[in-house]
């Protein structure tokens, strides 16, 4: 439960102090910035910047590039990284730097016009353990309790791979001495740091004097894993304020996690914090965690100041598929029939979009109960029903029958049809068993941590969706499996992975469903961009996202737009454009939000598995994306940051 501790700042004072800095809509005449990881505190991935629009986007060119130096410094260790960071642009009072973090949690500040480095901060993280390194971003806040002109009035907060919460001065990168011990708070307790077991990937949330951080927990290699406790601290002192264990004891002692690894959102005006919680451990076996496992696989609204539960919605009961809540809750104004409702849209790996009144949790689209198949594993009581919104439709089609098998030739198509005919396959939420079972979508999604982008207040949500079928199989195993030997979250491209679930009678083997040619068995596109009209509850359009020309044994000299798996998100702009990298073809693309037509694309040195951002600085609009690749893609990695702008 939430534990209130002293030193609670007065909420209204914070609101007044921070209002100029946090308002998502720039003041008249102000240049649109990008102050938060998700564009605003509600993760809309939207900028009003409209200098780059449909008429001129094809003229975009590289404005500057920057390399973090990680490739030179870390060499082979880079193969264990995924570059996921989205920079933020600090306000003028904080130095107006463009700030981002590298996979090793180095924080770098750049001149937003030239890309020249201004300062950097290296938290010197513990590299122990085998878990991959990643950092999605940092968070900024003005600290009114620090006098004007003193260090650390403008702060950046960073949660690191080795479980440290740092506060550093936004103007020079120096640690804030009054925060915790020398600028950091350790996020683990008496159990000490177990390198790689628990880490952090998303930026902490900071609002109204409260800084909140979740965690990334390895929740599949053993039955009982660390708790997924969300922690809140005083943003000035680092004093703990409250904690929230999402499982609240509901999953019994044979489980853990339900951590919050995806970005959180905050509605500062109403003092509400929104947590996207993940699955309880272990991901694919729930005998020892009977029941729904609340509040795992949920969006949870907490009181920002006390950590007390306000409302929740669980989108998967008793998860057996690793359907974590992967994406930042999107806060927006629902405008329908003259009514304006403060709303929240939650994307799920299953490809659903659930929409709520974010103050009450009341669904704005009816949620129906979908009966789902039972499990055949002894003692496993799968939920009898799972929630499904009456609208919008699921963003991918989970029905895949042998007749749908796809292949380049009759032979690989036949191979796929045979494989499909041998799978247990009753659609979404078919529990894994000792027989090979279709998992569509698999643990990759559907949507994933890239989330979606809302086109302003239009209600149009743009989402990049994975569309590759997986298979899974529970493999009985004797005791004594080594949980340290299997550490991937998802199978790397084209591979099957077997993961121990120590403490259970099974391992799980998962891989993509593909022919002997290594081509997915489901029809393309294997990655797509979907435009969802949240107000009408319909899909406005969808199009393939990505070219497979570099995915074969040799690269084709032309693009083959069949879509690729994708990680990272996109952003929408006032120029009616949607920018996204994310694909396995090194491209950053700009789409027309009205039609889905690709209007511009650029080839980067490596894949850009990060969400871009945009800002206007010095009268010029820039689009910036981090291009460093992703270890799961099994392709080249790098340490690039690219900025694009129109020619002068």
């Amino acid at each position: 439960m939430a534990a209130l501790l002293p030193h609670k700042p007065p909420p209204t004072a914070w609101l007044l102090a921070l209002l100029p800095a946090v308002c998502s809509v720039p003041a008249a005449g102000a240049e649109p910035g990008w102050l938060y990881y998700g564009g605003d505190q509600g993760g809309r991935h939207y900028s009003e910047a409209a200098q780059i629009d449909r008429s001129n986007v094809q003229d975009l060119e590289v404005a500057w590039t920057f390399r973090s130096g990680d490739m030179a410094t870390y060499g082979e260790e880079m193969k264990k990284t995924s570059t996921q960071s989205t920079p933020i642009l600090l306000p003028a009072a904080a130095g107006e730097s463009l700030v981002y973090c590298t996979p090793f949690n180095r924080v770098i500040a750049l001149d937003p016009a030239s890309g020249a480095q201004r300062w950097s901060f290296d938290p010197q993280i513990d590299h122990g353990g085998d878990r991959p390194f990643r950092c999605r971003g940092v968070s900024y806040a003005l600290e009114p309790r620090t006098p004007v002109g003193r260090a650390c009035r403008h702060r950046l907060y960073l949660s690191t791979h080795d479980r440290q919460l740092w506060a550093i001065d936004a103007t020079d990168g120096r640690p804030c001495a009054g925060f915790g011990e020398g600028g950091r708070v350790q996020l683990y307790g008496d159990e000490g740091l177990v390198p790689g077991e628990v880490s952090n990937s998303s930026a902490p949330v900071v609002a109204a004097g409260v800084v909140v951080t979740g965690s990334t927990v390895i929740d599949f290699v053993r039955a009982t894993t660390p708790r997924g406790t969300v922690m809140a601290f005083d943003s000035f002192s680092g004093q703990p304020l409250w904690q929230f264990d999402p499982l609240q004891g509901h999953a019994g002692s044979g489980s853990g996690s339900a951590n919050v690894w995806a970005p959180m959102s905050v509605d500062e005006e109403h003092g509400l914090l929104y947590l996207p919680t993940s699955a309880a451990s272990p991901d694919y076996y729930g005998v020892d965690r009977p029941g729904d496992d609340l509040y795992a696989n949920s969006v949870v609204a907490l009181d920002l100041h006390s950590g007390e539960l306000r409302w929740h919605f669980q989108h998967v009961r008793h998860d057996l598929w690793d359907y974590d809540t992967p994406a930042q809750p999107i806060l927006f104004d629902w405008r329908k029939n003259g009514e304006v409702i403060p709303a929240l849209a939650q994307l799920t790996k299953q490809g659903f979009v659930f929409v709520f009144n974010r103050l009450t949790g009341k669904p704005l689209w009816e949620i129906t109960e979908q009966p789902v198949p039972p499990s055949q594993i002894p003692g496993e009581r799968a939920a009898r029903t799972q929630p499904k919104p009456i609208a919008p439709p699921q963003l991918l089609n989970p029905f895949l029958m042998p007749a749908d098998a796809w292949g380049l030739t009759p032979w690989d198509r036949g191979d796929c049809a045979d494989q499909l005919a041998g799978l247990q396959n009753l659609g979404l939420f078919t529990p894994n068993s000792e027989q090979l079972t279709l998992m569509f979508p698999g643990s990759l999604g559907g949507p994933n941590w890239g989330g979606g982008a809302l086109l302003g207040n239009s209600g149009l949500l743009l989402v990049n969706v994975n569309n590759v079928a997986f298979t899974g199989q529970l493999i009985p195993t004797p005791d004594g499996s080594d949980p340290a030997s299997h550490k991937q979250d998802h199978p790397a491209a084209g591979h099957r992975m077997q993961v121990t679930m120590a403490g259970t009678p099974y391992n799980i083997e998962i891989g993509s469903l593909q022919s002997f040619l290594g081509i997915p068995c489901n029809p393309p596109p294997w990655g797509k961009l979907v435009a969802v009209d949240l107000i009408e509850g319909t899909v406005a359009w969808e199009t393939a996202l990505g070219s497979v020309h570099e995915m074969g044994p040799v690269s084709a000299p032309f693009h083959i737009e069949w879509g690729t798996p994708n990680l990272g998100g996109g952003i929408a702009t006032g120029g009616d454009l949607f920018f996204i990298g994310a694909t396995m073809d090194r491209q950053i693309r700009a789409f027309d939000v009205a039609s889905g037509e690709t209007l511009w694309q650029y080839t980067l040195p490596v894949d850009a598995t990060a969400t871009p951002m945009t800002y206007v600085y010095g009268g010029k609009q820039y689009v910036v994306i981090n291009a460093g690749g992703h270890h799961m893609f099994g392709r080249d990695v790098g340490d690039y940051l690219y900025a694009f702008a129109l020619p002068d």
Binding site: E366, P371, P389, N397, P402, L426, L438
Partner: protein, 597 residues
């Protein structure tokens, strides 16, 4: 309408004693019953609240055969009881011997779960959104008009509403046309026959019309209100099998047991309704036989399946009590020896898809052959089969029917698949069968919309046009009239062979697609399955009036009805396919009995 505890008509002393015991069991506990009063938030008593008492857990069972009861093993099913509050909002249950839980359900009120029957229970009204969402499938289905194409809607209902409900909440979810086409493709692979030419049209219409209903739910009519007669009855359910089972047809045997067939797992459940004990008999099959028998396995993507024979319909011999069973996936007839509990297989010389079965007074076994458009008669005295061909409707159909032996000589994996049309060309599908008191055999052909009469003495086959669509199952009443459900026309139809007259009776619930029926000959009542409305419908022949019985589980889909000759108790099974989509996720045998005064 129901007369219970009338033991005068019982045929022997043992039976009368058994009936007497049942009456005692029903009456005695009431003297020790606890009473609950259900009220609304204003403090007014709520009549017609459905209160269900469920065991907190089922008794431990031997389910060691891949999750199912092994052959010859006896387990026990603890019953689930449902009663309704009276005009004073009161309902009583006997004190349970084992821990139980309760659920209260009323139209327009939010379900309440509670641990004990005592004192008062207050039900909260549903919000308008919850209320509309709670409506059963049939009222939603009634508002799909398929762009005004009534024939297309009937085609849709004929081919898409015989396994499960169509407009249940999760069917109404917004889907793209591509997603609807995928649903149709999957269902056709399971055995639906939605015509190829209609698939795209229907995908478009389902997307458009479900969206219209979502945007204008106020156009959906309210379901029929529950009525006073309900407070005088009790439902008893026995859960059997699991979420992959399908308890299809069943039989009330004069020995007091109920024999229920798990169509997908080749098992017969012999259940004693007095104790809930059931013994399972697993139908043996040849070692080299594949799943799905000669039909091939249509459910390859299912995690669990054991349907080498596909036990379908049941009838017993009045001579020795042996039970005859149609194994749909075989060219054979099964006999279950009621004394030795062994199965005997009678191989057939011809015919495909043994379907519904009856035994006449001369101990001849009659059953339809649904795929080959034939009727088979097995003469027990000679051990010989006689096959009656029913006429083809066209040369093309004749050719298709005659080519079936050739088609079935090809392995299931390589067998050509038909491209169905709206008329079901090649598949007139003789379905229901019954024998009138004069010994005539009557058959309904579902896709051909006609009836066949077979004179067993002469072998003469006479075809009679059925002036409605979808004659599925039929039964004779005591006067020799035939009662037939018109599936996609939503009608109960009477055919009087003496005059050749058809009379239709609208069902008391809107847009029902009735699957089967049975006639309580002694009491003059026709009982009809109400699968889209979660009901069983009772038609009083003399008064031409209906009583409607709401089922205690949503998505309750029944295909067979049996009536106890002795006491008029009515039985049915919940055989929604797939079972896990039914509320509770497990098949049940359900009995409706009147409560003692």
């Amino acid at each position: 309408m129901l007369a219970y505890c009338d033991i005068r008509s019982s045929r022997d002393n043992k039976m009368r004693i058994r009936q007497g015991l049942i009456c005692l069991l029903l009456i005695t506990p009431l003297s020790h019953a606890a009473t609950l009063v259900v009220k609304d938030t204003q403090g007014s008593p709520l009549p017609l609240v459905m209160v269900t008492q469920s065991p907190a857990s089922q008794p431990a069972a031997n389910l060691s055969d891949d999750g199912y009861t092994p052959d010859g093993v006896t387990n026990t099913s603890a019953p689930v009881l449902t009663r309704f509050t009276n005009a004073s909002g009161e309902v009583s249950f006997p004190d349970p011997a084992e821990p139980v839980t309760y659920r209260a359900r009323a139209q327009g009120y939010v379900d309440a779960q509670f641990p004990a029957i005592e004192g008062e229970l207050v039900l909260q009204r549903m919000t308008p959104e919850q209320y509309i969402a709670s409506f059963p499938s049939n009222v939603w289905l009634s508002q799909l008009d398929f762009g005004g194409d009534a024939d297309l809607k009937k085609t849709f209902q004929l081919n898409c509403a015989f396994c499960h409900q169509q407009a249940s909440p999760f069917m109404r979810n917004e889907r793209t046309e591509e997603q609807w086409l995928s649903v149709i493709e999957r269902m056709n692979s399971y055995g639906a026959r939605l015509p190829t030419d209609d698939q795209q049209k229907i995908a478009t219409l389902l997307r458009e019309e479900y969206r219209r209903l979502r945007e204008h739910p106020e156009t959906v009519p309210e379901p029929r209100r529950w009525e006073e007669h309900l407070s005088a009855v009790e439902f008893t359910e026995w859960p059997l099998g699991d979420g992959f089972s399908q308890m299809h047809d069943f039989l009330l045997h004069p020995n007091g047991y109920v024999y229920i067939g798990d169509n997908l797992f080749d098992r017969i459940y012999e259940l004693d309704p007095n104790t809930g004990e059931y013994t399972v008999y697993k139908v043996p099959h040849d070692e080299d036989m594949g799943l799905g028998g000669i039909m091939g396995n249509r459910f390859k993507v299912f995690p669990k399946m054991y349907n080498y024979l596909g036990v379908h319909s049941f009838a017993y011999s009045k001579k020795d009590g042996n039970i005859f069973i149609t194994p749909s996936m075989q060219q054979a007839l099964l006999e279950f020896d009621i004394k030795t509990k062994k199965f005997i297989t009678h191989e057939m010389p011809a015919g495909f898809y043994p379907h519904t079965i009856r035994v006449d007074d001369k101990d001849r076994v009659w059953f339809t052959l649904a795929l080959s458009s034939q009727v088979a008669m097995f003469d027990r005295s000679s051990g010989e089969f006689t096959i009656y061909d029913l006429p083809a409707r066209s040369v093309k159909e004749w050719f298709i029917l005659k080519s079936l032996p050739l088609v079935f000589s090809i392995s299931p994996e390589h067998r050509p698949q038909p491209s169905p049309d709206r008329e079901g060309t090649g598949l007139p599908m003789p379905y229901g069968i019954d024998i009138t008191p004069d010994g005539m055999v009557w058959v309904a052909r579902l896709y051909a919309n006609d009836l066949a009469r077979i004179n067993p003495d002469t072998g003469e086959v006479t075809m009679i046009d059925f002036p409605f669509q979808g004659p599925r199952r039929l039964r004779s009443d005591a006067d020799g009239n035939l009662w037939i459900v018109a599936f996609q026309d939503s009608l109960l139809v009477k055919y009087a062979p003496a005059t050749g007259e058809f009379t239709s009776y609208p069902l008391p619930v809107i847009n029902e697609v009735p699957y089967a029926l049975n006639v309580d000959r002694d009491r003059g009542v026709v009982w009809v399955n109400g699968n889209q409305s979660d009901t069983i419908l009772a038609f009083d022949i003399a008064g031409e009036s209906w009583n409607v019985y709401p089922m205690p589980r949503q998505r309750f889909f029944s295909r067979d009805i049996e009536i106890s000759e002795q006491d008029g108790a009515v039985y049915t099974t919940n055989s929604h396919f797939p079972t896990w989509q039914s509320e509770g996720g497990v098949p049940t045998l359900l009995r409706i009995t009147p409560l003692a005064e």
